[in-house]
């Protein structure tokens, strides 16, 4: 009797303790997750702050107009000149070519995986494409140096295979995985009714893909393309190794060239902290950051639209 009386209260007490402890644990974890989220924002703001603080002072030495449109980059001369037009043009040219190469292949591959390939093939091919995304960029640089650049050289009868085109082809290989996997997801999200309606009208597979799947997944595909572009703009090591590194404003894709990323990578080492070259390279970084951020924001917006389109 006595025991029976005691037992429930004991259970109650321990229950209450447990609940309180759980609540405390919950609070603690919530706080911790909040801090982790905050950290990401703090880091981003910190990066923007440092880029502005270290990069902006260069404009007291070189006016922004000259900095952006100057074609001479002699950072270790006396007096130094900083004009990033060659880097800017090279970055745009390489990014553009790599996108033009990667997008048709990537979208076709995504269409095949999503609409045509039997599930077994899909299960094998998709992971392989994902492995391609995991290859370190320095290895891609090596492959470009050893295999692709002699090929490009002999194909176009060039003086050297180290040129923008070689870099662009390597970059297209590197942005392919992200284009394939994001646009495949987009095509997968196209409602079955659309395709079934198309088949019911007697359309062939090709007609269904071309007139139904791709148009309905277009905003997702556009987002995939933007993500691929972002990858190509920011890539450094491969470009540094295979793009040649000439300082002229490139006239054709087969000219050797230096992109903004490789200019930073090859110059930051010998720049003394706070020196002119250091500031100039940070300013290049700032411009690069603005460029990639713009691309990412556009991709995000397009992706958001895609999600809303098929939200049910």
């Amino acid at each position: 009797m006595l025991q029976q009386d005691v037992a429930p209260t004991a259970v109650k007490v321990s229950n209450r303790g447990l609940r309180r402890r759980l609540r405390l644990g919950e609070r603690f974890i919530e706080g911790w997750i909040f801090l982790a989220g905050l950290l990401a924002i703090v880091v981003l703001l910190g990066i923007i702050f440092i880029l502005l603080k270290e990069g902006l002072p260069i404009f007291t030495h070189t006016p922004p107009w000259e900095f952006l449109f100057g074609t001479k980059w002699y950072p270790v001369s006396d007096p130094p000149t900083f004009g990033i037009a060659p880097f800017f043009v090279s970055t745009l040219m390489i990014t553009l070519i790599s996108t033009v190469v990667a997008v048709p292949i990537g979208v076709a591959c995504a269409a095949y995986l999503s609409e045509v390939a039997p599930p077994k093939v899909n299960d094998i091919v998709k992971p392989i494409i994902e492995i391609l995304a995991g290859i370190p960029s320095v290895m891609m640089g090596f492959i470009g140096l050893a295999l692709l650049s002699p090929f490009v050289q002999s194909l176009f009868h060039l003086n050297t295979g180290l040129c923008g085109l070689t870099a662009a082809i390597m970059l297209s290989l590197m942005s392919l995985p992200i284009i394939v996997s994001v646009s495949e997801d987009a095509m997968h999200a196209v409602p079955r009714e659309f395709k079934e309606a198309s088949y019911a009208l007697g359309a062939t597979k090709w007609e269904t893909i071309w007139h139904v799947c791709i148009p309905s997944a277009l905003s997702g595909i556009a987002a995939a393309v933007m993500l691929g572009v972002g990858r190509a703009i920011g890539e450094t090591m491969t470009v540094l190794m295979v793009a040649g590194g000439a300082l002229a404003v490139p006239a054709s894709p087969t000219d050797p060239m230096t992109t903004m990323t490789s200019a930073i990578a090859s110059g930051i080492g010998n720049a003394v902290r706070g020196g002119l070259q250091y500031q100039a390279l940070f300013a290049v970084g700032l411009i690069l950051f603005i460029l990639t951020m713009a691309v990412n924001i556009i991709a995000e917006m397009v992706l958001e639209r895609q999600k809303r389109k098929f939200a049910r």
Partner: protein, 307 residues
Amino acid sequence: MFKSIKKRLLPLSLVLVTAFVLAGCSTTSTPTTTTSTTTPPALSGSFKIIGSNTVTPLSSVWAENFMKANKEVGIAVSGPGSGVGIASLIDGTTDICQSSRLITSKEIDQAKAKGVNPYEIQVASDALSVIVNPSNPVSELTIAQLSAIYTNKITNWKEVGGNDAAILVMARDTNSGTHVFFKEHVVQMAGLPTADKTLEYGNKVLMLPSTEEGVSQVAGNPNAIFYAGLGYLNSTVKAIGVKKTADDTAVKPSVETALNNTYPVSRPLVYYTNGAPTGVIKAYIDYCLSAAGQQTVLEAGFVPLSK
């Protein structure tokens, strides 16, 4: 859960197996190094050497030998370029800076402003060699011709007595001490009557991130020209004989021609420390300057200090 992992494992292992089978056709055996740990340690500590890509092969051999003799010492050598080394010395992130050019007065001012006092020790010399592909008929050039090539004024090999082919001009990037030394002494022709301080590398010149890349490009391209430290010369490339002026005789880069000062573009290779070196760093530099250390210089393909 397990099924999906299995699904992913199949293609992954497939790729790996094919890769290994392919790789198996061309495996090379890696040399195994054995270390004995019997000698009592005399010195201990660890330090960093950062700087010139040119000096790196030499510093690596010295560091290896020194670490073999002193088990408790750890030395890390890296060679991104002389400019990087000097910047690291000024920023206090390296113990020794290895350099293939002398520190500039501007850099000394920057160092002094940060409380760093660069102390210079010449450890070896180098004959800066201009290299072309062995199939290139051109075997000698004047400094003025080299300057014209590197400023893109001469763009075809036939203008200097070679084939009718465009010249592929390659240089190191601005991190490199060799880049700066070559600019001052060849592009701007310092010390010659034709010297011109306003000359710069032409904008068609390829700026390469490492010396190795340039040497391998020259080995594979009959129209390429590049420069490298004497230690980087090998049978896949041909060193050009350099003439100070058109009237002088061409001199090939070698240990002898650098030692007797007949080769026109030889230069000191130096170590910089913050103040005079002490302790284990002093012991290391003393070893570099010793007879055994200078013998290593010769074996690494560089020019030892004249006695």
